[in-house]
């Protein structure tokens, strides 16, 4: 292993600009004559818009325009869409309601944009926005997903507010297995709604060039090409070739920046109306109200076992809250990213899952780090843990008895697991977590009047999404391959243009490690270009832990082509047969001789083209590839959480966290560990801290960092993070993906630990001090009195 090659903990290329304040985020881009967009948002969860009076606002100082949904409709700007078709059990298509970028007739959640002010400055825009008079007729709202079907109907298209009633698996076989079971564990689970809260708020800057009739959009996007495609083909703002989308440095995404949002559409539309660049930067309140949220499931889950603790079947019935409108990929999250993972790491013969997706008068819900897989893992890992407790079995024994041990393994819910060693990660995690010493530590805690608990989560996820044909057959509106272009310059330095997008993942470093190792050139001689549709060919972007498995595989494929072409050039230079040229450590050698040419010399010769005729060989050294994976990848592992709970306050302290993950090949262990840390923190946030609270009228009560408990540094211990390795057979590098594992594994580990400590399964998420304290009081009423 070289100091900068695959497997080395190379320090990141991108860091110098970030630690010196030289990053270029969307809000840092300034265009001449830039104006600001300030949105007028509905204060009501559900209201008919009777009229909008913009007369006074238009006369305010510095105001260029005040625009409403009526004008948007008059200009025939299309609706936002959801790009994944799900069919109900009865075969009917999902009920996608119209979603205009500015509401014209009805507002359906607090914070929905109903008008926009374009002004010289943000302050002047805000002053004017306060003068826009919207006459609302307030209507009854429905907020609780469990009550959505009996609530007032939000959209004409969706009776009983039902988007689809979907199922996966064999209902009859599962029912028969339950009938024959000797033990059934049942859990009612609420998977709490989360607000993604990347620290960089969403932003958009749109500029229209009337000379060329081109629009440019700088935006906080994880997938600029998909944004351009949707904005062009569905919303109809501009033809694809006349719209450039740039996602510069992006300050965290976690899924929330995958989607195409109303604000960027409005900025583009308005820029062409006022002939000035239009910028919008969300304040945090707007992020809370108008970013797509995550999770929000209500589930009844059951596990059937025989007397030996062998799992016979699993059954789940879930109501998924998709909010007021269907966000870009919302339909796929509680279906194909959720129910397909209900087999966990276990050999479960029969699984059946029903999911009803419903509209409510809340912000739209879509993918948030893990996206469906944390919800599935929580169901499976809580069921397994509780079943073990009910049956008097050790929770690790029950897991081991049911682990999938041979591969490939076909689950009853679509997935074919291709490689893994689940026992290895469990064993290693138990050693690192010193499970043997737990009872002693528990006694020590008891001496101080504290409760101590241990919780496991042996999770699996499906990443590297995914074979385009496979997702197409499941309803995806897009393919999920990735593209790469490798440009070797005449001096032998290299630019890689990738369709992946980095917003914290460190691609500029890891992708360069791959190229440096493969071409035998210095790490410093490689630069990575991404996030600009004018520079990079169409690509799919970054989500679902796919950039290593899919994005880097595309680069490998392009590098294969570079090597093949370079060998032809070298053959001409060295006057040898192409088949005799070997390439190793950056040098082309004629086999069995000392005749060689360095990579840089071959690159130069490819461009000066003096050694071959244009008829024999095209000049230049640049190759393109599109890589479509053969399967999902299946990262898996074991997280162990140890908690100590203060009986007096109900406060849970995480005193130990052990993560042992199998991510396949690791390119940069430093970056991989960082991804695990961040994922665990978000998962712990879900389990302990983060509650999204809408009141009955649909007001978002937890709408700021003062009300929504974001994880702080003092909420965590240092994490112990290790890996095991079985290579993924479905991509050339053997990578599985690491971006979401922590967020997927963590919630179940935390709740399993707390329930272990308190001796009750009735612990909600988030398990706030108040919730745990109240539970302890209920359990010991006499003591409390």
């Amino acid at each position: 292993m070289s100091a900068t090659g695959i497997g080395a903990a190379v320090r990141r290329k991108e860091d110098v600009r970030f630690v010196t304040g030289k990053g270029q985020y969307t809000d840092d881009v300034v265009r001449p004559g830039e104006t600001r967009a300030v949105f007028v948002r509905s204060p009501h969860a559900r209201a008919r818009i009777k009229s909008i009076d913009v007369a006074e606002a238009k006369t305010m100082p510095g105001v260029l325009a005040v625009l409403t949904g009526a004008e948007l409709a008059a200009d025939k700007i299309g609706n936002l869409i959801c790009g994944w078709m799900i069919h109900s059990k009865d075969g009917s298509p999902m009920k996608m309601a119209p979603h205009p970028a500015l509401a014209a007739t009805t507002a359906n959640h607090v914070g929905e944009a109903v008008a926009v002010v374009i002004a010289e400055t943000q302050a002047l825009g805000r002053d004017a926005a306060e003068k826009v008079k919207v006459d609302y007729e307030v209507l009854d709202a429905v907020v609780d997903p469990a009550k959505a079907k009996s609530g007032p109907q939000i959209h004409e298209i969706a009776a009983k507010n039902t988007i689809y009633e979907w199922s996966l698996g064999d209902a009859k076989a599962t029912e028969a297995a339950f009938a024959a079971a000797q033990h059934v564990t049942t859990l009612n689970i609420v998977n709490n709604r989360l607000v993604p809260n990347a620290i960089e708020p969403r932003a958009a800057l749109a500029e229209y060039d009337s000379g060329t009739d081109h629009l440019t959009l700088w935006t906080t996007s994880q997938n600029p090409h998909v944004a351009r495609l949707v904005i062009s083909a569905f919303i109809g703002i501009a033809p694809e070739h006349k719209l450039r989308v740039i996602a510069p440095d992006v300050g965290g995404g976690f899924g929330s920046k995958i989607f195409i949002y109303p604000e960027e559409v409005v900025c583009l539309w308005a820029a062409r109306k006022v002939f000035r660049p239009v910028k919008w930067v969300a304040d945090r309140t707007e992020s809370f109200l108008a970013d797509a949220h995550g999770r929000d499931h209500v589930t009844k889950a059951e596990l059937a076992l025989d007397l030996n603790g062998k799992i016979l079947a699993l059954r789940a019935r879930t109501v998924a809250n998709l909010g007021a409108y269907m966000s870009t990929f919302s339909s796929s999250i509680p279906t194909y990213l959720y129910a397909t993972l209900l087999s966990g790491q276990y050999d479960i013969p029969h699984i059946y899952c029903e999911v009803d997706a419903v509209y409510t008068n809340t912000a739209p819900v879509d993918a948030y780090r893990g996206a469906g897989r944390p919800e599935a893992t929580f169901v499976v890992e809580r069921l397994v843990e509780v079943a073990a407790r009910e049956m008097g079995l050790d929770p690790t024994d029950l897991r081991r008895r049911n682990f999938v041990k041979s591969f490939p393994h076909q689950t009853p819910v679509i997935m074919t697991y291709d490689a893994g060693d689940y026992n290895a990660s469990l064993k290693k995690a138990m050693e690192i977590a010193d499970v043997k010493g737990f009872n002693k530590r528990k006694r020590e805690s008891a001496r101080h009047g504290k409760l101590r608990g241990l919780g496991y989560s042996t999770y699996i996820e499906a990443c590297g999404i995914a074979p385009s044909q496979a997702v197409g057959s499941l309803g995806a509106g897009v393919g999920l391959w990735e593209s790469a272009e490798v440009r070797v310059n005449p001096t032998g330095t290299v630019e890689v243009l990738t369709g992946s997008h980095a917003h914290g993942q460190g691609h500029e470093t890891t992708f360069a490690q791959l190229v440096s190792e493969r071409l035998g050139i210095p790490f410093e001689n490689v630069s990575i270009v991404h996030g600009d549709t004018d520079k990079v060919q169409f690509g799919m972007g970054t989500y679902g832990s796919r950039s290593g498995a899919v994005g880097m595989s595309a680069i490998v494929k392009a590098l294969d082509k570079i090597e093949a072409k370079a060998k032809k050039v070298a053959a001409h230079m060295l006057e040898a047969a192409e088949g005799d040229i070997e390439f190793k450590d950056g040098k082309f050698t004629v086999a069995g001789t000392d005749k060689s040419a360095a990579f840089g010399d071959v690159a130069l010769n490819a461009y000066i083209a003096h050694k071959f005729s244009g008829q024999e060989l095209e000049p230049g050294l640049k190759e393109t590839s599109f890589y479509d994976p053969t399967n999902f990848t299946f990262p898996a592992g074991c997280h162990i959480c140890e908690v100590e709970i203060d009986r007096e306050t109900g406060k849970t302290a995480i005193v130990n966290w052990t993560a042992v993950d199998d991510f396949g090949t690791v390119i940069n262990p430093m970056i991989v560990e960082g991804q695990v840390h961040g994922g665990v923190a978000q998962g712990v946030g879900q389990a302990l801290l983060e509650g999204t609270v809408y009141d009955k009228s649909g007001q978002l009560v937890s709408g700021s960092f003062m009300d929504y408990a974001m994880p702080h540094a003092h909420d965590f211990p240092p994490f112990k993070v290790e890996t095991t390795e079985t290579k993924s057979p479905s991509n050339p590098l053997g990578i599985k993906g690491c971006g979401e594992a922590g967020a997927i594994a963590a919630p179940a580990a935390v709740i399993n630990a707390i329930t272990d400590a308190v001796g009750s399964e009735e612990v909600p998420m988030p398990a706030t001090p108040n919730a745990v304290w109240a539970l302890l009081q209920r359990m010991t009423p006499k003591q409390a009195a």
């Binding site: 970030f18 630690v19 010196t20 809000d27 302050a123 620290i199 965290g252 976690f254 003092h714 965590f716």
Partner: protein, 164 residues
């Protein structure tokens, strides 16, 4: 509009601002020092931390006019003129104390204030408690804590070398 004058990163600057202009707006929009970020509206996230007369402050909650005559240091003012990173910046890079980089300028400015208040030998508990005013959504804080401890140490030994 009232005029305001202050020293930012060692250079005297002045400008006409509305009374309601925040320091962060003055830095970002008037001076184009965009390393100082805004991540919330309620003074919780700390992405906007700068130093005013040597003490950490949230520039999103400070009016530009309050800084009349003050010495303000932003993230852009830390590295040496030749580009050599400040030891705290170097420690964040070395220990992978950042991912998306958005909270990083505020983290580093807050870290320097932790060192000012607590010295160069910082234990983990102190760092975690003292980071209460800064949010990071990417790193889980693990490597930020490591970076601050290492950066504080490096600052101490640098001072020692300078003294000798």
């Amino acid at each position: 509009m009232p005029a305001v004058s202050m020293t930012v990163n060692g250079k005297p600057v002045s400008g006409d601002v509305e009374a309601r202009t925040l320091l962060v707006q003055f830095l970002r929009e008037n001076l184009r020092l965009t390393g100082t970020h805004v991540g919330c509206d309620t003074s919780q996230c700390g992405a906007c931390v700068v130093h005013i007369d040597g003490i950490a402050a949230k520039s999103c909650t400070t009016l530009a006019l309050q800084c009349e005559g003050a010495h303000v240091t932003t993230i852009e003012g830390l590295a040496e003129a030749g580009g050599k990173l400040h030891p705290m910046q170097e420690a964040f890079r070395e220990h992978h104390g950042l991912q998306c980089g958005f909270c990083t300028p505020g983290m580093i400015m807050a870290a320097l204030d932790i060192v000012r208040r607590n010295g160069n030998d910082l234990d983990e508990h102190t760092i975690r408690e003292q980071l209460d005013g800064n949010l990071c959504r990417c790193t889980g804080y693990h490597n930020i804590v490591k970076a601050i401890a290492a950066g504080a140490k490096a600052m101490g030994s640098q001072r020692q070398v300078a003294a000798e």
